[in-house]
């Protein structure tokens, strides 16, 4: 093959495994064709995408298997265990940390055939779906029936429910509806030994530690989520959009803190720094802009918007009306600039971290300053996009045209992670670990935390069959 791989060698599959896998899924769904191997070689890890334009791929799978059911996955996993063939689960391939890259000559287990909308329970406000359903399709199905899951990530159009679960994903409306871990009530998981675990959907339970939390953020390394039951919400009867300009990031963050302390629950809250505000809202220019969307039942929504308005005004916020919210709604899925910049040698990526309110503003200052100090930088900008009563997620975008792309990429990430850890933050809010963030894992979890996670991995998957090289290396 003329494409080059820079992270692992092509795997050689035992003939017995190939024959058995073909029988399990059918010849049509087992592939070693060049086009398939290239298509499943990479997710949306942006450094990998940058290199891919010249035909350099991080790794190639040794085969792509596309099962249609949990039963087929069970058989494949058992077979892979027998032959010690590593398996990389592949959902939408939208992960940005390389979680779905088939390292070590893995076989890709493509989960996208399992994309059915299974059941809607309007009385309990839950829906059951296969994990391979794409976010946008899930929303179209729900919206058609008068509901929404409330999880609208920027990757809505290219990520799957299983991917959301595996990375503890968050959507743009998370301040009201929560992250995916707040939405999942039950799930079905194929374990690394091939057994099927059914976690039935109930609102809460008290039966020991939460097993489902092993797989919320399990990144396909602890099990393969095949279906899930999630909470849903009736489509809002009223939506109120507001925006305010504040004198500084510190002022804006403190206003949102007060709003949430006052029990308001806007669905969307975003604080854009000067640079992002200038890009999004040319009429406002480089001023810290905060947008709010309140939605739901008419009375509550009106009250929610009233509280936001009062607290914002009392704290020096100048109203900019609905227009900035509409602009953001229109542009929020537009990732178009990255692929253009990359063609001109640009390195682009995003980093999302979280911190308590007491640290949130300083974290922004330190992180942006640290990242801007790296040689080759073009721009670093940030926004806060997911809020809790206790703190927020900070989301920073960086771009550079460096002489040495990898050195720049590594140094920028190092600066961001260092600032986060120094400000008591978590190194990831919702993108997960994949393979790229493993290097910072011990600083986040501590040696004891890493040992515990390793123990969990090796207890579930002693041979390291599932998603080897991601999240944690559990091999003894």
């Amino acid at each position: 093959m003329a494409v080059k791989t820079y992270m692992s060698q092509e795997g050689i599959l035992p003939r017995g495994f190939i024959e058995r896998a073909r029988r399990i899924v059918g010849d049509e769904h087992f592939s070693q064709q060049e086009g398939d191997l290239i298509s499943y070689s990479l997710d949306y890890w942006l450094y990998g995408i940058f290199l891919s334009q010249k035909g350099d791929l991080p790794a190639l799978p040794s085969a792509v298997i596309s099962p249609a059911s949990a039963a087929q996955i069970q058989e494949i996993i058992r077979c892979a265990g027998g032959y010690r063939v590593p398996i990389t689960p592949f959902g939408g391939g939208s992960g940005v940390l390389g979680g779905a890259i088939p390292l070590n000559g893995s076989v890709v287990l493509n989960l996208q055939r399992m994309n059915r909308f299974l059941n809607l329970d309007e009385l309990s406000l839950v829906a059951e779906l296969e994990a391979g359903i794409m976010g946008a399709n899930l929303e179209l199905e729900l919206n058609h029936r008068g509901y929404s899951a409330g999880n609208i990530p920027q990757s809505l159009y290219c990520s799957t429910l299983g991917g959301w679960i595996s990375t503890r994903a968050a959507g743009q409306f998370s301040t009201k509806y929560g992250k995916i871990e707040d939405m999942v009530l039950g799930m079905e998981v194929v374990l690394p030994d091939g057994n099927l675990l059914n976690i039935k959907p109930v609102p809460r339970r008290s039966v020991g530690p939460s097993l489902k939390d092993l797989f919320l953020g399990g990144e396909g390394a602890l099990g393969i989520v095949t279906r899930a039951t999630i909470s849903i919400h009736p489509l809002p009867r009223l939506t109120i959009k507001q925006s305010f300009v504040f004198p500084s990031i510190e002022a804006a963050v403190d206003v949102v803190r007060q709003i949430l302390r006052a029990e308001a629950r806007p669905a969307v809250v975003r604080i854009f720094d000067e640079a992002e505000s200038g890009r999004y809202f040319p009429k406002i220019g480089r001023k810290v802009t905060t947008i709010f969307i309140s939605e739901g039942e008419t009375e509550y929504t009106a009250l929610d918007a009233k509280v936001i308005r009062r607290i914002s005004r009392e704290n020096g916020g100048k109203s900019s009306g609905e227009a900035p919210v509409d602009i953001w709604l229109q542009k929020r899925f537009d990732i178009g600039l990255g692929p253009v910049l990359m063609q001109y040698g640009g390195i682009v990526d995003t980093i999302e971290v979280s911190a308590l309110f007491k640290d949130a503003a300083k974290l922004y200052r330190d992180m942006v300053a640290g990242m801007k100090a790296v040689e080759g930088v073009l721009e670093v900008s940030g926004h806060y996009s997911h809020f809790y009563r206790e703190g927020a997620c900070l989301y920073v975008t960086f771009a550079g045209i460096p002489k040495d792309p990898l050195r720049y990429y590594q140094a920028t990430w190092d600066a961001a992670m260092q600032a986060t850890l120094q400000n008591n933050g978590s190194i990831s809010h919702h993108h997960g670990v994949g393979f790229w963030r493993i290097q910072y894992l011990e600083q986040e979890l501590g040696a004891t935390g890493v040992r515990l996670l390793k123990s969990i991995k090796s207890a579930l998957d002693p041979e390291g069959i599932l998603n080897r090289g991601k999240l944690i290396d559990g091999r003894r």
Partner: protein, 359 residues
């Protein structure tokens, strides 16, 4: 040269996008296969251009697995881009190098023999007037549709010249096969056929014919010089002008939006207006209008991967059946034929059934 660079940048951009349109791609959804998603197709096209692929036959074969329906371009984050142009370019390369799938090869051979994608046919040419009704290849095979059209045209009181059959075809099968020269010849023949009939406007049932006769002919420098309108547009005008009297009926109707009508011709509201004007209650599948899914015909009728066609058709049938409507209607004769399991009607049939004699 600058234009080439611009085009190269466009597809390179697509190849590095996050596949933000793949949720809309019927081929991807029906198969769950990443490789046929728009961004991955773009990556492979870029790699092929850079000679990074070893298995060119596999690549060219993949290029024939696109429905060419336009869902991806409709939902693209870039306004100035249509992946289908690049896929078509790859098909042209495949055609020129002889690497086209067997089904496609057979279809081209049939076309060359009969001047149409089906068989030897009788030429239809009757009536007179400055409005022409061009009988598309799919309409030609559909006796119910032709009968309904005849009723509708006769009740309209307009003078209409009907023509089609024989070796008159828009050339879509050749275009989709990548036969550039064959398609150009057909477009010139079509121009001559129209000029010889001296019509001012032409009414056509098939959205693909309309796309070919307008957008694609224009791309190769052929202007027909007449107004081309879809039958639904024509009937909508007749209804508005009061030229058709009809009896309303209370029943539920689900419209299957033909992909080309929605994505290329942007006419999804017109059939809906006709259906509701006739008194029917409209039911919408989850995927309709700007989210419609191809019926699968582009594989079966125009291209020819029957396994893919079956997967896409079966997905679309299930989506339509979920609406549990009394009647299923579409505005493309090929969609009607492919989705026959739900007793699909062409919209003219729905109209003709409700027409009554002028008071």
């Amino acid at each position: 040269m600058a234009e080439d660079k611009k085009e190269t940048e466009k597809i390179a951009r697509c190849a590095m996008c996050a596949d933000m349109c793949k949720y809309s791609c019927p081929t991807y959804l029906a198969t769950g296969r990443e490789t046929v998603s728009p961004q991955k197709m773009a990556r492979l096209i870029v790699y092929n251009e850079k000679s990074l692929l070893e298995d060119e036959k596999d690549f060219l074969d993949l290029m024939f697995q696109s429905a060419m329906c336009g869902a991806c371009s409709r939902h693209c984050i870039y306004d100035d881009y249509d992946l289908r142009k690049f896929i078509h370019k790859a098909r042209v390369k495949a055609f020129d190098s002889g690497f086209i799938p067997e089904d496609v090869k057979k279809r081209v051979e049939t076309f060359r023999k009969f001047g149409n994608p089906d068989c030897e046919r009788e030429l239809i040419d009757n009536g007179a007037g400055d409005t022409g009704y061009f009988i598309s290849c799919s309409s030609y095979k559909d006796a119910d549709l032709l009968k309904a059209t005849e009723k509708m045209l006769s009740k309209s009181g307009l003078a209409v010249r009907r023509f089609g059959g024989g070796d008159i075809c828009c050339g879509a099968p050749l275009y989709y096969a990548g036969d550039v020269e064959g398609f150009r010849q057909v477009s010139l023949k079509m121009k001559a056929e129209i000029e010889s009939r001296q019509v001012r406007r032409i009414v056509v049932d098939c959205p693909t014919c309309i796309k070919m006769m307008t957008q694609i002919y224009r791309e190769i420098g052929v202007e027909l010089g007449v107004e081309i309108m879809h039958t639904a547009q024509f009937m909508q005008a007749l209804l508005k002008q009061g030229r058709l009297d009809f009896r309303k009926k209370h029943a539920s109707v689900t419209l299957h939006d033909p992909c080309i009508l929605s994505y290329d011709l942007a006419m999804s509201s017109i059939p809906r207006e006709i259906i509701t004007a006739l008194g029917f209650s409209l039911k919408e599948p989850v995927y309709s209008a700007e989210h419609t899914h191809c019926c699968g015909a582009t594989y079966g009728a125009k291209i020819g991967d029957h396994r893919l066609k079956d997967a896409v058709t079966s997905m679309r049938l299930n989506e339509l059946r979920d609406t549990a409507a009394d009647i299923y209607v579409t505005a493309c004769p090929t969609c009607k034929s492919v989705l026959s399991e739900v007793n699909m009607k062409y919209i003219t049939e729905l109209v003709a059934e409700r027409i009554i004699a002028k008071r």
